[in-house]
Point group: C2
Chain length 197, copies 2
């Protein structure tokens, strides 16, 4: 079964790919709003993991709407959710049998509810899969430690490949650099450097 | 990581075992209330799948309470949920690093909510994993068709290994044979015969 898995270059989506790998024909897919070249970082991470990689373009207007929502809310969760849903929709239209992502059991954003999963499946004629949905943080950290070489660091420093990097750029572009600190709390990101041997 | 996976001999728990197998040290664990020898069927299925198997005893009073709840309700869902939670508690106390089951994204009973999962983890110092939680019915049927040899048939005919078989026996014992038809709708079960080569 051909699985197009939304891939950020980070720990969770990389681990989702490894867990799916024995059972699906996995292609890693990174969405870009055309704002930065962040997707190039994801392509490099995908190559180091040994998976085929595709970049999929989403209209910049989606990023602008997501950022506007973040600014209105004063926090990023709902805007990130919008960007993630747009990504899943785009992957679902790309011709794979299944579309997936790295959402975890304990995730707060983005999340894919059962009704969103069913809606994606019904509207696009695909199957939605979330290989990490049955695993909590401790299990995922243990598996990732066993299977992946990971670099961690502050979000703004680390060259990750996902749409969050582009959302930050749109935010800075439209609301000024200070808006990033207002909306995104300082937190540690992870970037995958490869598999452990 | 040593994973004790609650195993019925049916399709879902067998597929959960296969999905976990590359990443965990899997032992299949079947609960018995000591009412029938159904767990022996699960042991045979586990052997054919090539996994180590353990049987774990749960007090018959748990089965009686579950059956009483079914009779009060007029449907089996809450009673099955009780029996399943008792099984997970017992596996969680058996010394594995992680306890798991074959619950699916679309399951109505049994289900393991995020709060139940967290509670199991906190109280027993284990990790709870549900390898199928991120997969819907269509995906699970496709994977099972690829990976497993399965026999399907009516519940009362097929010699499955899980606690439902014993709950039916307790129900018949305490409320008469007719109670089974009143409580359990006719439905098709699956029993695993082995892996596909």
């Amino acid at each position: 079964m051909a699985l197009g898995l939304s891939f950020s270059g980070g720990k969770d989506s990389a681990l989702a790919a490894l867990l799916a790998d024995p059972f699906f024909d996995v292609t890693l897919v990174t969405a870009t709003f055309g704002v930065t070249d962040a997707a190039e970082n994801a392509r490099v991470a995908a190559e180091r993991l040994g998976f085929p990689h595709e970049t999929i373009e989403i209209d910049r207007a989606v990023a602008e709407a997501a950022v506007e929502r973040m600014v209105d809310d004063g926090y990023p969760r709902n805007g990130i959710q919008r960007a993630h849903e747009a990504t899943l929709e785009a992957v679902a239209e790309a011709g794979f049998d299944a579309v997936g992502d790295g959402t975890r059991r304990d995730d707060r954003a983005p999340t894919v509810s059962q009704s969103l999963a069913q809606s994606l499946e019904d509207r696009h004629g695909v199957q939605y899969v979330a290989p990490l949905a049955g695993y909590g943080r401790a299990t995922i950290d243990a598996l990732a430690g066993d299977l992946l070489r990971i670099e961690t660091g502050a979000s703004e420093r680390l060259a990750k490949g996902d749409y969050e990097h582009e959302l930050r750029a749109v935010l800075a572009d439209e609301y000024g650099e200070d808006a990033i600190d207002d909306i995104f709390p300082e937190h540690v990101q992870s970037v995958v450097r490869g598999r452990r041997e």
